[in-house]
Symmetry: C2
Subunit: 170 residues, 2 copies
DNA sequence: GGTTTTTACTTGACGGATCAAGTATCGGCC
DNA sequence: GGCCGATACTTGATCCGTCAAGTAAAAACC
């Protein structure tokens, strides 16, 4: 008879979890939510959301040629179907510049502005500290193990896309 | 010189991560996003969101006396400041019933309806399969390790609430 | 027993997310 | 070179999430 798990206590759950798998899934979602909010509190005082910060990071790391809109979406940590308007809002804040691609007029190329780079520069320190704070309790070997396990989880999800056929047949 | 990590490949990142901590954090958020979408695809064909599903699960597990609105919010996996309207939408779907508490008229007590219970019953099987699919690649010992590591991450976050004082002084 | 504080929502306003449908452009194919 | 399918967004509608301010009831205080 084991004591109530930490996850259980945090969500004030009376009954024990039905399975370890369920507890793991809940723990994963719970932890990610807390981490996301923690990191959001770092960037939001600077007037951007985490998603917007993610776009700026992607553009800073991109080539000078500019990155097409949907290429940005592909690289986002969280899928972003609303990528057009997300970037629109960044353009309004003058953190991103856009221009229709001259060689393929369907595409819209995006660049980070100097203002955008400055903002990222101001955030770099706190975000590194943030990452360190998030993973700090695990130690290098622990982080390594966690990364590998999460890789496994995603691989499994990707490789079983039709696990439930419920979706296609609306 | 190690090969590009799986996380890096998935978000098409050229440069290596600045630190293992950063890679771990990104991996955690990336994985949780994929898992959340995977589970959402199970419940959404039944006309509810994952958040709404979470509320129904909480109410099914609660006592017959009914649960006050904010107690539900406290138990949610993802923090839900919009809990009132979330439950409002569930009431419109007749999956939840509400009544002002007679002994403390500030509170609004919530119950799951029979219709709500039926919906959950229809979802129980798929959701268990879903959890199993998510954690399936790790094995029992692996899930155990993952749970413990995630517990550590959250504990660290909770215990360092004032890590950045940026927020309080608006 | 009346005032202040706290609690438990509720409401309004607005930004963000999601899905479906539309438009412009490009690349192949005859 | 004209059509067809695919690509790369764009736009509209709707819902959801979030923060701030408001209201009503209970609790604490004097």
């Amino acid at each position: 008879m084991t004591r109530a798990s930490q996850v259980q206590r945090e969500i004030r759950q009376r009954r024990p979890f039905k399975s370890r798998a369920q507890e793991g899934t809940v723990g994963l979602l719970l932890t990610a939510d807390r981490v996301r909010r923690f990191l959001a509190r770092i960037v939001e005082p600077h007037g951007i959301t985490l998603q917007q910060y993610n776009v700026l990071r992607i553009l800073r790391g991109a080539a000078d040629a500019g990155l097409p809109t949907l290429d940005i979406a592909e690289r986002m940590i969280e899928e972003a179907p609303g990528i057009t308007r997300l970037i629109e809002r960044l353009e309004k804040k003058r953190l991103v510049r856009r221009r229709r691609c001259p060689t393929d007029r369907r595409q819209v190329l995006c660049w980070i502005t100097t203002e955008g780079r400055d903002l990222l520069a101001r955030l770099d320190g706190s975000m590194s500290e943030g990452d360190a704070a998030v993973m700090g309790s695990l130690g290098d070997a622990g982080v390594e193990t966690l990364i590998r396990m999460l890789d496994d989880v995603r691989t499994r999800l990707i490789s079983s896309p039709g696990f439930l056929a419920t979706k296609g047949e609306h």
